[in-house]
Every structure is written in C-alpha cells, then in structure tokens.
C-alpha cells in the first residue's frame, strides 16, 4: 500500500450539469442554454480541467442574462415578497442581497461583500429602474468567480496540514451527491462549523434520498460503466439507427436509472446485488428485448431468467451502448472486454496500435470471401491473426468481451448469429488470482468477479476520481485502497461507502500546490 499523499488544492469550474442544477436551485429558473465545456478527461463530467475562455464567457453571459431577467420578472416577488411593496425599501434589497449571495456563494458572503454589492446596486439604480438594477446585480453574482468555481484550497491548521474548511466540505459533499449547491440544512451546519463526522454522515444519508441525490448516484454509475451515450439515446432519435423504434432507445436510460436506484438507494445497496440480481425494469417498448411483453408506459420491475441475465452487466441498456450503433446484431467484444478490464478491474490496456481496420478487413476478405457471414467473434478471431502484436494486446481483454457473445447490439439474448451458433465460452482468460481461465458466459464469471477484491477497490477508486474531479495516479491509491477495504468489510454496501468517503478526513485533506 502506498503512503497517503493528499490531493492537490484546486479550484474547479462548475460542470454544465452542476451549473444548471445550481442555477435552478438558486433561482427556480431553468438555464436553457446549450453548454459544452465539461472536462471528461477523467471519464467523469467535471469542470476541473476547464479554463473559462472567451467563448465560454460569451455563452454564459447570454445565458445568465436570460436567467437574471426571468428570475426578476417571474420569481423575485414570490421569493422575497417585500419586492411587491411600493416603494421597495433599501432594507428589502439588502435582505435579498444577504440571502441570495449567501446561497449563490455557498456561504462565502460576509457583511463587507454584501455592502459592496449594495453599493453596486445603488450605482446601477442611478441609470436604470430598480428591477433592472436587481437583474444586473443578479447577473453579476451569477457570473462571479465565487459562483462559477468551487474551491478546494483549504486552510493550514495547527498540525501543519491543509484541511478544507466547513464551507468547502459542504460543497464537496453536496456536488458529489446531488450535483448542486448545498441545501439550507447543510449550508447552515457548515456556517456554524458543525460538520463533524456524525453530522456529515447524517447529511450523506439524507442527500442520497433526495430526488437530485437519486439522479446523481445513477449518473455516477452511468459514467463508471461508460454509458453516457444513454442520454443521447433518450433525446436524439437518430443517435442509434439500429433501433427501428426510437422509443426503445429512449427508454433505456430509464431502465438503467431505475435499476441502479432500486439497488443502491431503495434496495440493500450492495455491490454484489448490483452485479448478481436478475431483476430489471421494462416498459412496453423495452419488454420485447427480454422476450417479455408489457402494456405499460411506465417502468415496471420484472425478474429475468437467471441463466441469461445477472445484474447490471446484462441489462439491455448496458449491452446496447457497448455495441454497434448501426447493426442490431453486432456486439462489440472489444469495447465490452476493455470495459471489464479498465473500469471493473482498473487494469490498463495499452493504447490502440493504429492499425488500419479497413485495410485489414480488405485483406481478410481476399482470403475469406465469406468473412461477413461469420459470427462477430469469428470475425474478430480472424482479424486477430493479422499479426503477433494484435494477438498480444487483444488477448488481454477479448476473452472478457467474448463472454458477452450471447447479447446482440440491442441487448437481446441470442444463441445464433448469421445462422451460425454463437460460442460465448472462453478458456484463455488471463485475469489473475480469483478468476479462472475458463467460463461459459459472463453470467458464470460475474460471481467470481464480485468476490474479487479488485472490483471493490476499482469501484472505490472510480468514486474517488469522480469526487475529486481529477486523476493523480498514486494520490488516489491509498485512499482508494482504504475505501475498497471498507467496502469489502461492510458486505459491499455502497451507501456505507458513500458515508465513509464523504465523512472521512482523508477526502478533506489537501496538499499545497506551491513548492
């Protein structure tokens, strides 16, 4: 185990999702602009690596102008009834500034700042009417760095170490669990310096149950399993032409979210259940993918045949994303295999060799004219024969992918492809201790995978990466190891891991970025 080294201090721009949530929670106005500046380099949607340049600022200015204007015209009187009085008093404006800035700045609003904001309001009022002045001041607050960035700078304490203060802790926990600013209860405890371990644990439990918490948790799992394109399937009817009925594709995100929430939030929350349970959720569009029928437009829980389906890796939503977007039969053993290797075992697969797949295919077609009538696995096995470098690299992960061979690109269980029987079994898996070399299918492998401590540690590592927003190699190893061990010692209960992580001092310690 590596000695613990705290992650670096950082500021991070709110990601587009966080910004939209925060703006809505603050103003009750939707931020409807299209925002495209997320940093996905860690595999998670964060703002850590984003630099706010001119194009982002211009987009934000336009979007926030609209929010500020709608907020003042539609929400202000409701939230602050004193604005309905005539005349509106200075006290009313000051009370709005106090409350609004305190929430917007996640607690970082003192009397001096409020006085400065009021002074700005008075200057604006000289040239415009009161509501325009409030709108412009709202715009300033929504564009200010204190609103747009989360800080994790911390303060040096007597022990010489740097610890996040309570306001930073509240933001970290809240954005990780809800994707938005701290709510009233969490902010109040942070302002009163009450965020001890027990209080944090109770906030974690509470926030996980909120609507935003449920949504955020399933979002984390979506990123972990590289299923971000489920969102596109829901909103873009052309995202995956293989689905003749776009309603099927659009329902898959709901399946995934319902499944994750049913286990992590509403169920026993165990990682093992996530991987071993044979239930899912279907509506009338997706039921046929499982050989079922339904007349419901809503998602309904159903049990599936255990021999065919076991847990999250055999959901149609998972399987259809990790497959061809175009051809409904074509699964992707490469993508599925790499996912197991990289996201479930946290093992590195080398970079692609850059081989020209088209040329390779052309060359195979010359020797095997009936190449396209083979099963996907047979086609890949022939392709792998192109050279020793192909075999050396692909043998690391392809066997994992072949184990998924019985699931086509729609996520249906199939035994025949191109009129040829599918072979899903492998006998050459090289996955280290705890995993055998031979399995009949992914359903056979999953129980061993769940028992493998690498899965717990890899899960914990991803959770830490998601929480901190950057990958720093060894910085994560120790904390991930501790959390992975905690997960194993606590019956693989994920909600317990959330509590442990977001109340652990380790996640709140920082290392100075100055030499």
């Amino acid at each position: 185990m590596v000695a613990y080294q705290a992650p670096q201090q950082q500021i991070r721009l709110l990601s587009p999702r966080e910004l939209k949530n925060t703006v809505f929670d603050l103003t009750q106005v939707e931020l409807s602009a299209e925002l495209n500046f997320g940093d996905y380099s860690t595999g998670y949607d964060t703002g850590s690596g984003v630099k706010l340049g001119e194009d982002i600022l211009v987009t934000l200015m336009g979007a926030m102008e609209s929010v500020a204007s709608n907020y003042v015209s539609l929400r202000l009187n409701q939230a602050f009834p004193c604005f309905s009085e005539n005349p509106v008093t200075d006290q009313c404006v000051q009370s709005w500034i106090r409350e609004f800035s305190l929430q917007a700045y996640r607690g970082y609003s003192d009397a001096e700042l409020q006085e400065e904001l009021f002074s700005h309001f008075q200057r604006l009022s000289r040239d415009t009417d009161l509501r325009s002045a409030v709108s412009l001041l709202t715009l300033r607050i929504l564009l200010s760095p204190r609103f747009l960035y989360r800080t994790e700078m911390g303060e040096q304490q007597e022990d010489g170490r740097i610890w996040l203060n309570d306001l930073e802790r509240a933001s970290l926990v809240s954005y990780a669990l809800t994707g938005s600013m701290p709510d009233q209860a969490l902010l109040q405890d942070a302002l009163e310096n009450q965020l001890d371990e027990a209080t944090l644990r109770s906030h974690v439990r509470r926030l996980l149950q909120t609507e935003r918490g449920r949504e955020r948790v399933s979002e984390f799992f979506q990123y972990w399993l590289r299923l971000y394109s489920l969102n596109n399937l829901k909103t873009d009817a052309n995202a995956a032409p293989k689905f003749e009925d776009s309603q099927v594709a659009a329902s898959l995100l709901d399946e995934f979210r319902s499944f994750v929430q049913s286990v992590v939030i509403d169920g026993d929350s165990r990682l093992s259940t996530l991987f071993l349970s044979n239930h899912t959720f279907v509506n009338r569009h997706t039921a046929p993918l499982y050989g079922l029928s339904s007349s419901s437009d809503q998602m309904e829980r159903v049990n599936l045949r255990p021999r065919e389906r076991q847990g999250i890796l055999t959901l149609a939503s998972f399987l259809s994303v990790h497959a061809s977007e175009v051809e409904d039969f074509r699964d992707s053993p490469t993508e599925r295999g790499i996912l197991v290797k990289e996201q479930l075992l946290c093992e590195t697969v080398g970079l692609p060799s850059g081989i020209d797949v088209d040329s390779a295919t052309q060359s195979i077609l010359e020797t095997h004219p009936n190449f396209r009538s083979f099963t996907v696995r047979e086609q890949f096995e022939l392709m792998m024969e192109q050279g020793p470098s192909c075999v050396a690299c692909h043998s690391q992960f392809m066997p994992f992918g072949y184990l998924f061979g019985n699931y086509n690109a729609l996520g249906q269980f199939v035994t025949v492809q191109n009129d040829r029987p599918i072979q899903a079994s492998v006998d050459n898996l090289q996955a280290g201790e705890g995993i055998r070399s031979a399995y009949g299918s992914i359903v056979e492998l999953v129980p061993d995978l769940v028992r493998d401590p690498r899965l717990s540690h890899c899960f914990a590592k991803n959770l830490v990466r998601y929480t901190l927003g950057y990958s720093l190699g060894e910085d994560f190893e120790s904390i991930s190891w501790l959390l992975g061990t905690h997960l194993q010692q606590n019956n693989l209960v994920i909600s317990s891991l959330f509590e442990e992580l977001y109340s652990s001092p380790l996640i709140f310690q920082r290392r100075s970025v100055t030499p």
Binding site: Q9, G49, G53, I56, L57, S144, P145, V326, P352, V513
Partner: protein, 439 residues
Amino acid sequence: MKRRDFVFGSLKAMILLNPVLSLRLASAQSANRIKRAMFWMQCNGYSTASDFFPSQAGTNFTMSPILQPIADLRGDMVIVNGINLPDGGFKPKGNNHVCSPAKLFSGYNGVGDVGNGEDGSHLGPSVDHIIAQRLNMRTIEVSIDPRPPRTLRSRPFARGANQPKVAITEPSQVWSNLFGNATPPGQQNNEALEQRLTFLRAKRSVLDDLTGDLTRFRRELAGDTEKLKLDIHEDAIRRAELSVAEDIRQTEAAVPPPSLCAFPDNPGTLDTLIPTRARAHMDLLFAAYVCDLVQVTGVVWGWSGYRWLYDWVPGTNFTNYHEEVAHGNIRDQWLLGHRWDWSQLGAFARRLKETPDGSSNMLDTSLILGMNHFGRHHRITQIPTVIFGGSAGGLQTGRNIILPSAQLNDRLLTSVANYMGADIRGLGSNPNCGPLPGL
C-alpha cells in the same frame, strides 16, 4: 486610473509604439482587402482522388464529378491537390477519425493525450482563431449536425491547447449570439439608442466589477496552475469588455448599418432534418456577414464518421453513410453525398458573389476555405481543398493547382492567414513553415 481606462490607454499606446500593428490596422481599414473568412470542414473522405480533383493543372481544367454542381464558380475558386495532414504524435483510437479534424485547421502534428485512449485534445490554436486575434475580428462556429460536438471528431477549431471552440448546433442559439443583442437596421431612434447605451454601460459596469471579484478571489488561491485558470478567465472578461466598449462606441456614433443588412427572424426550434438545419445556419451566417456582425466563421459539416442518410438527395439508397458507404466504398452513393455537400458551400459562395460590396462583390472580399479532414478512406493525404473568393486580397482565382510534391496543411493555412492580412510566418507544429509555394 480606472482599469478600463488603463486597458484602452494601453491599447492606444501599443498601437503608437508598434509599427507592425499600426500597419496592420491601417491595412485592415483599406477597401481593397479580404474582410471575412469561413473555414468549412467536410467529413469522411472520398472514394478515389479523381472523384474530387480535376486532372488538368492550371486555368483550363474540367470539373471533377464532385465539384461539377459548382462549375459556374470555376473562376472564383482555387483547387489545391497535394495537401497532406501531418501524421505523427499521439493517436487516439479510431484510426485518424479523432485526430484529423483537430489537425485540419491547426497544422499541429498530433493531438494531446487526455489519458483515456479514446479522446484527444488540441495542441494549439486553429488558423481561424489566429486570424481573428490578429485582425480583431469576431468569430462564431456552427455545426450542422444536431448532435452536440463532444469530441475532436466534431471540434476542428480551437483557441489554444486543450481549448476547443465548440461549435453551436442550434440555429436559434446562433441567432441569439449574432442578432440577439444587436440593433436591427432601420429601427434606431434616439430613445432606443439611449436605452441601448444605458444597457451597455450597465453591462460594462458589471464586467468591471467582475474583474474586482476575480481579483479578490485570486487572493485566496495558491499555486500557479490554479491562477492560470483565473488569468484566462480575466483575459476573457477583458475581451468581453473590449467588445462591449466597441458596441458602446458604435452605438454612440449611431453608425447606420450597411443598407443591405436585414436581420433574419429567429429560426426557433428546428427539427433534426439536415437540409433544414444547414439552410438555417448558412442563412444566418450570410446575414451576419452582410450586417458585419461577424467576420470569421467556422462550419462543421457533419462530423468525422458521421452517418447522415442523405435521403433528401435523389438517387441515394443507404442506411449508413460511414460504415455502409464509406467503409463499403460504394462510390456512386459516396459521390451523391459529397456533391450535395459541396453544392451547399457553392450556393453560399454564389450568394456572396451576387451581393455587392463597394465596387466589388462580397465573394471577392471574402475567403472561404473548404476542406475534408480525410483524403481517400481514412488516409490523411491528398486532402480535398478548395478556396473560394479572396481576390480582393490578391489571390489569383480560377486555378487548379497540382502540387509537384505533397505539402503539409500548415503552409496552406499560413498562406490563407497572410492573404487575410494576418502576416504570420507559420503555425501549428512549425511556426516557421512559410506559405504554400504556388498559391
């Protein structure tokens, strides 16, 4: 001294002290110059080179099958045969699909490694940004496909390393950015001008105070890496301030807009049909050029590996443009798609040509660089390249240039920047590459 006064004071002093900049600005004010540019990326390569490139060099050439629909523009274009993209650096997975768009207009040899093997990042600015910065021009980037541009496959433009300029997909958003805050011609009156001035001054006041907020925020930070983020943020605010200051100056001067300028209606929410969206985007860019609301534009026509059905083109019959047509090398179908793409760009050029600009026309005072990020199939050699317009900057049009030996795109882009008046010696991985011989 107020910080804003300092910014303007500094700018004035810089102009006085920097003869090159003074010359550049003087040149920019001259009538005989290229006033605007468009960078247009088409996708997915071609079946065979003869489909795109005419076989005869010089001025007497027969149009290729793909360019045939725009044969009437022969005298207004330069076709360049022999441009390659640099083949090096980190390669994300997906053959050249991910990295070639990022190289296309930047001239960098490779892309940055973001650590997941799948995506990449720009290594530096693209030529559109360099031109806009040097000539103080306004820019906008649009994407015809409704799918949000999330990776380099649809992000050919960049402000700098790891700073993509993400193209806007929704025409209504393009309209808002270009026309939303501008005053339509013929609607000005003193009261409206006064209101606008009040709004702009208030906006400038907000930006001024944001700079103060940033300064306070900066004091709490440690470490250069994080301060760099705020430097970029502050620079963005300064640019926004300059832009607002320019708006104020123009409003104060109440300069009447050009007589041909007509503000289009907001296209609103459109369906996902490509021809509808393409037409809406190109109409908006045309109107913005005529009203001089933008000078440098980037158009992402599809995305690397895109799958449009082209079912609006008579004769097409396929379900997937990328896998079925391009990978399957169904030449006649491929041609149909490409002919439509280039005919749309040609139609835009034609509109410019039909629009007077002083004693000339808007095509002569514009430069459109249309390129595909691939050559044949997934190769990054013999890249389709056509320049439309540009004669006001001295570009000799009506030529098909067949380069005696292949040249990298950095030299082409350098030439384009120089025709625009940006005066650069090179860009991308080779800042001294020089211009393209013979162009």
